[in-house]
Amino acid sequence: MIDLVHVTKSYARVSHPGQRVLALDDVSLTIEKGELVSLVGPSGAGKSTLVRLLIAEERPDSGKLLVAERDISRLAPRELPYYRRKVGVVFQDFKLLPRKTVAENIAFALEVSDASPADIRERVPRMLTLVGLADKGANYPNELSGGEKQRLAIARAMVHSPRILIADEPTGNLDPGTTTEIVELLERINRSGTTIILATHNKDVVDRLRRRVIAVEHGRVVSDRQIGRYELPSHHAAVGAEGLGS
């Protein structure tokens, strides 16, 4: 499903012109269809960079990024929107439109991707039911709890029935109870066949999932276990990971 082949990505440093920060350093990995993979690592390890590469928000400096056998680093600009409909994404800060209702936030994603009104009428309630927000359709995002906001974001990400769902710190702003709720929702979505990549700092989440864990540090994959736990080889990283936002 997803293949990274010697992917390297660096950013220009605005504060030091001419210098670059190496965010991903020769990363190779494969994720099969239907997997639920946790991506862990200390702050600045390169998790979000990997997420941005996968949603074609950034391009690698070198290497290949294959998703469903297509090299997405070579997508033409006009192909990007269609690719992004195949890959759902959610973030720590939800990215909801505050002036649209819960239902409108989902409908908006369909409207701007040329869906028919019939399609919109059918899919919006289905997505709300999927994430357990069927009775909140007319509410505005600021009337929702953090967990409900993230569920709305997940509903929106799933609206095009993507084959891959990527979550970058989805529980970063949530309390432990709500975190469990979101993780269970992601597991449920995964069981229906969607490949899930979950970038997180949260040790409890990773340990409870008992699924594959890929650890990155300084832009490199430092461990990759099929049934992993949240443990990092370098001790300073383990300390740094506690309580740090993205």
Binding site: E57, Y82, R84, S113, D114
Partner: protein
């Protein structure tokens, strides 16, 4: 883009105009002022050009003869003058014709009754049209020479010419100041609309980011801004047309120093406005919509990163 998407883009654009409240109003106001200035000056230029053309055609040289000159002599002079290459036509106005013209004049009956066919003091004359009205002076000099002194009572042409010259000169300077003003306001509206679009785009960075993440096409992100601009241009053009009409209707031109030449042209300008209403409307709408869409597309191209 499908028809459905086009409908949505239009809806988003219209919603944006309302959402931006004061920004939209400010842009509409500058566009209205810009188009209004262009409209008034353009109409005035056209009318002045039309008027001078009309007057040029009417320019002639009248040579009045003393009553004791035999008609054959006048007709001989007429033939001689008509043979000149720079003369377009020469008309002989007999006493009878002069009387008719007198009767057609819009003066009081009392003045008209001063002249009767029996007691007709009106002189006979030759009315000369030149191909180039500027040559009338040279022709007039001919009749001021000694050989005609006994025959010619009076030569008249000068008054018209000076009016024409000053009209043409004023028209030119009015048009120049009109273009300068229009250019200043075009620049102002560009600065305003460009910056307005920029600020709106930056303030909607969040929304644009979401649109990108959910797989929206570039058109969907950009086109509503252009629709928004088109609406502003459209409304501005309509308001400008209304303003131009009121300006002409209530003859506000006379009160405007730069436009004081328009004082005696006001009825002509209103008449021109009505008889060319369709053209004026189309040109104003095209200019309004075209310029606002262009202005905001420059900003959209620069600031909508996708």
């Amino acid at each position: 883009m499908s028809l459905r998407s086009l409908g949505r883009v239009l809806r988003f654009g219209l919603m944006n105009v309302l959402r931006n409240g004061w920004f939209s109003i400010a842009s509409i106001i500058v566009i209205t002022i810009t188009l209004f200035i262009i409209g008034v000056f353009a109409i005035q230029s056209f009318v002045i050009v039309g008027t001078t053309q009309g007057i040029q055609d009417k320019l002639d040289l009248s040579v009045y003869f003393n009553d004791d000159v035999p008609e054959e002599d006048i007709l001989a002079i007429r033939t001689a003058v008509a043979n000149r290459p720079d003369v377009k036509s020469v008309d002989y106005i007999s006493k009878e014709r002069a009387f008719e013209i007198w009767q057609e004049r819009r003066t009081s009956e009392r003045v008209k009754s001063l002249v009767t066919p029996e007691d007709n003091p009106l002189p006979r004359s030759l009315v000369i049209h030149a191909y180039d009205p500027g040559k009338l002076g040279t022709l007039a000099k001919l009749f001021e020479r000694d050989q005609y002194q006994e025959q010619v009572r009076r030569v008249s042409y000068r008054d018209n010419q000076s009016v024409i010259e000053s009209l043409v000169a004023t028209a030119r300077s009015v048009r120049q100041s009109g273009w300068i003003l229009a250019a200043i306001f075009f620049f102002l509206s560009f600065v305003l609309i460009y910056n307005m679009t920029r600020v709106i785009i930056l303030s909607r960075a969040h929304e644009i980011e979401i649109m990108r993440l959910v797989g929206s096409t570039t058109t969907f992100v950009r086109a509503p801004y252009l629709v928004e601009a088109a609406v502003i241009g459209f409304v501005g053009a309509l308001l400008a047309l209304g303003a131009v009409y009121l300006f002409l209707r209530y003859d506000l031109a006379s009160a405007t120093p730069l436009l004081s030449i328009a004082k005696f042209l006001a009825p002509d300008m209103l008449e021109f406005f009505w008889s060319n209403l369709v053209t004026i409307t189309i040109v104003t709408l095209l200019l309004g919509i075209g310029s606002t869409v262009f202005m905001s597309s420059v900003a959209v191209r620069r600031f909508v990163k996708f």
